[in-house]
Structure formats: C-alpha cells, structure tokens
C-alpha cells in the first residue's frame, strides 16, 4: 500500500476487522517491523531515524496503556520524563512549576483536574482514555496516531474526547491519523482511506466518497463500498475456482 498524509491533515484510515489497520499503525509508530518498503514520518525514516520519529509522534493505542497502579499524574510525569521534557522528581509538588501548570491546564481542558491524583485503576474507561490523550499530547507531537480511541466509551465520553481532539488540531495544527469503527467520527476528516484485505481500496475526501457512491452519509458509503468490494472479491474467488477446475 502507498499513501501520504499532509502536515496538519486529519486522515481517517477505515476498514473492517482484520483489514490491517492496527498493523499499519503499529508499523508507523515503530512498534512493529515492516517487511518491505519505505515509511517516513515528519520527514524521518522509521527504520534509520526511529528515535526522531518517536519524538515527533503521539500514540493512543487501541488497548489502554496507562499503568493502572499509578495515578494519572504519575503516568503523565513518567511520560514527560521519558520524552526528556523535565527531569524526574518523586512528587508532583517537586516538579517544575512549568510542568505543574501544563498538566493542570491539560487536565482542565478535559475537565479532569479533580481526578488527576486518582489511581488509574479506579477511573472509568472514558476518564482513563482522556488522561491517555493528555499524556500523549504532553510533548506536543506533530503527528497524533489514534487507533480506535473511542472504543468502549459511552456517547458523552466520545463527544467530549472529540471536542478536545478537535481543539488540539485547531490550536496546535497537529496531524491526526485515525483508525476507527465509528464511521461518523471520520465525517470531518480531510481524507478518508478505505483499506480492505491489506490493500488500499479507496482514498479521497469524504464528500467525494459519498458523491461517487451516491450515499448520504460516510457510513452508508463505507458499508455500500465494502459490500460491493466483498461481492467483487467473492466473484473473483469463484472465477478462480472455476478456472482451476
């Protein structure tokens, strides 16, 4: 597969289960080795300049990755230190004022300041997810990878999270690479890319996709396309069997 994402773009990468979305995102975030080809993120090669790539990306993985034994703030503090933003101090109060202000500001934006010092294991899935987003934005990444970020969240939590992410894009100009099963979340994307059976099937702005497939919503267009693509695939398989016979 081959595609490019412009700086500041909101890029949605959609596809059914097992299509290869998480595999692609794992390669792009340097956590999985690619078998061939070239990948560049923010101008850096993911194999030869993986450190620079990691400095420039933020990742919200499909599976939550906060340490449940620590408080949300402790998770954020360790992240900030791993990215070399601040020297490690054993308590929040001992951290530089700059760090404290930044954490409190980000926690305020997601309305979570009161839960900042609560053990993550005691937070709801939505609350923990918001802190995960806060953590991934501490180092102001140029590219934010969101692998099904709202999976398991209720409607209100999803709405709040997207409100926050929209603000991040607007205020920071962050490039967002999204995979999701909630197709409506990709309605406001600049580009939607459909992946099926490990290959890119369609890549264009959502409006163009809806127009070309004669659908009112992106979800309708997506379902319609996958049905047609699936039927074509089955036809091709059938043809192959007949030819072989």
């Amino acid at each position: 597969m081959s595609f490019s994402v412009a700086e500041g773009e909101f890029f949605a990468f959609l596809g059914p289960n097992g299509a290869g979305k998480t595999t692609t995102i794992s390669i792009l975030t340097t956590t999985l080795s690619k078998t061939s080809g070239t990948v560049r993120i923010a101008g850096y090669d993911i194999e030869e300049q993986d450190r620079q790539v990691r400095e420039n990306i933020g990742v919200i993985a499909q599976r939550p990755s906060l340490d449940k034994s620590l408080s949300a703030e402790e998770n954020i503090r360790i992240h900030a230190c791993l990215y070399g933003l601040y020297g490690y101090r054993p308590t929040f109060r001992m951290m530089p004022a700059e760090y404290r202000d930044r954490v409190e500001q980000l926690a305020d934006v997601v309305g979570m300041r009161e839960s900042l010092f609560t053990k993550v294991g005691k937070l709801s899935g939505g609350m923990a997810r918001k802190f995960e987003v806060v953590r991934s934005l501490m180092h102001t990444p140029h590219v934010l990878f969101l692998d099904e970020p709202t999976q398991g969240l209720d409607a209100v939590a999803r709405h709040d999270l997207w409100d926050y992410l929209d603000r991040v894009r607007r205020d920071w100009g962050t490039t967002v690479f999204l995979t999701t099963h909630y197709i409506d979340e990709a309605e406001s994307a600049d580009t939607v890319c459909l992946i099926n059976r490990g290959r890119i099937a369609l890549c264009c702005p959502p409006e163009e996709m809806k127009r070309s497939l004669g659908a009112d919503t992106l979800e309708d267009a997506y379902v319609d396309f996958l049905r047609r693509d699936g039927a074509d695939h089955l036809d091709a398989l059938e043809l192959g069997r007949e030819t072989a016979a």
């Binding site: 975030t29 340097t30 990691r54 034994s69 603000r167």
Partner: protein, 277 residues
C-alpha cells in the same frame, strides 16, 4: 468542557542525549519503586522471604551441619544470603516486564524516544528496590540469630549492590526476552534462582565441588557475585583463604562480562519480541 485555549507550552527539553537517557533510567526505576511502595503486600513479602531463607534454611544448617567447618558459618551464610537476596529479588522483580506487556504499558515505553537499554536498566534498578528491602530483612533476621557485620563490611557490600542487582536483572532479561506468559515467567525465574542458591555457594560451601556441579557453579554469575561479596567482607581476615574461592579481580571481571553479555542478548530478545508480538 472548558473554553481554555491550548498552548503548546514553553517546554525546554533536556538537550544532552546522555542526560535524557539517565533521566529515562531514573523515571523507569522510580515507576517500579512507586508501585512497590504502594503495595504493602509486596513489601511484606520482601521482608518475609529472608525469614524463610535465612531463618529456616540457614538456621537449620547452622545448627545441624556447620560443626566441622574451620570458619564461622553464620557470617558465611549472612553474606551469601545478602547477595542472594539482591540477585533473587531483582530477578523476580523483572517478571513485571511480562505484566507490562500484558497491560500494554510496554507500548508506552517502547514508543518513547529512549534507548531500550535505558528502559531495561531502569527496570532492573527499580526491581532492585525490593531487593534492598529484603536485605534489610536479612540483617534483622541475622541480628536475631546473633550474626552481625561491621559497618565497613556493610558499606562494602552496599557499594557492590548495584552491580549485583544489575547482574541478576540482566540474567532475568534473557528469560523475559523469550517468555510472554506471566505464569511461565515466574516458573522460569524460580528455575534460575533456586539452583543458583545451592550451586553458587550462598549457604553451602562449594570449595570442594567437582564434576558437573563444579562446571555449573563456574558458569553462574551469582557464584562470582557471592565470592566478590565475601572477598570484601573477609578482607584482612585469617578466614579469607578458607572462604573466598577466586581473586576478587577475577570475580569482578567475570561479573561485568556476564552482565554485559546477558544485558545485550536479553535486551535484544526483549525488544525483538515486543516488536513482533
């Protein structure tokens, strides 16, 4: 949601590569120490372990089998147990790497822009906190049994402690690099630590070992750790030759060589397994 406008923040990142790696080591180690301090059960287990090892096994050996030795078995055993605790508890602490993988926290660590060695060394140092707590337990049990060390001897062992912990943690990394199941990792760590306890001269002298047992003892890093520890404690003592097997420099070189080797191989296996999971 509030109407606060986000600012990118006037962060001045640490620019020196070495300082960043060191900061990462400290942060990773601090995470494990924080988790240990928040878990009273872990702390209690760290203190109970010496009671079982030193008090019961060591106590029985001292009362029933140490009569024919030409040196004080109590001091011999106390030093062995202190090194054993550093080695064993650090090794056991490394099993949490498998937990990190299960909880997906390893993704957070491995996607950060720091060396894999910094992550592993930080993890080893964090695990060694529990080992230090266990050593305090050993000293308390020793005190109850009437076995003590002079302050200078304790300081000597304390100075060696980071190397001993690093050695145990590096050995554990080989296992963590290939095992991804918590249950299996715990069993494997027990299989590493228990034989070492008996083959490395922790509580049973190995000066007269021969054949397979001798060969096994010479390839285990803990043998050299225990011997170097005893070399420090028995320095200048008439019992030095009866207790210490190797020249301290030989032990030091052996520990460093085996530790570096295990660290390189273990970190490579761990990073590879996480990248291909």
């Amino acid at each position: 949601m509030s109407s606060i406008t986000l600012t990118a923040g006037a962060v001045r990142p640490i620019t020196s590569r070495a300082a960043r790696e060191l900061n990462a080591v400290v942060a990773v180690a601090a995470r494990d120490i924080t988790i240990t301090l928040k878990s009273p059960a872990t702390l209690v287990m760290s203190l109970v372990m010496p009671l079982l090892m030193m008090g019961m096994i060591g106590g029985n050996l001292m009362q029933n089998m140490a009569g024919g030795l030409d040196f004080n078995f109590g001091t011999f055993m106390l030093v062995g147990m202190l090194i054993n605790m550093l080695f064993m508890m650090t090794t056991m602490g490394m099993v949490t790497l498998v937990d990190d993988s299960d909880d997906n926290y390893s993704a957070e660590l491995l996607v950060s822009p720091v060396s894999r060695y910094s992550i592993v060394i930080g993890k080893i140092l964090g695990s060694s906190f529990m080992a230090i707590v266990s050593c305090l337990g050993v000293l308390v049990v020793g005190l109850v049994m009437g076995i003590t060390l002079a302050p200078w001897q304790l300081l000597g062992l304390l100075a060696l402690a980071p190397l001993m912990c690093l050695s145990g943690g590096a050995l554990a990394m080989i296992v963590m690099g290939v095992i991804k199941s918590n249950k299996l990792a715990n069993m494997a760590v027990m299989m590493i630590t228990m034989p070492q306890m008996f083959l490395s001269g922790v509580i049973i002298p190995i000066g007269n070992s021969s054949g397979v047992l001798m060969v096994l003892s010479r390839i285990l890093p803990m043998t050299y750790c225990v011997d170097l520890g005893r070399a420090v404690v028995y320095a200048g003592s008439p019992d030095f030759d009866s207790v210490v097997l190797f020249n301290p420099m030989v032990s030091l070189v052996a520990i460093i060589t085996l530790t570096v080797l295990c660290l390189i191989v273990g970190t490579y296996l761990y990073a590879r397994s996480e990248k291909n999971r």
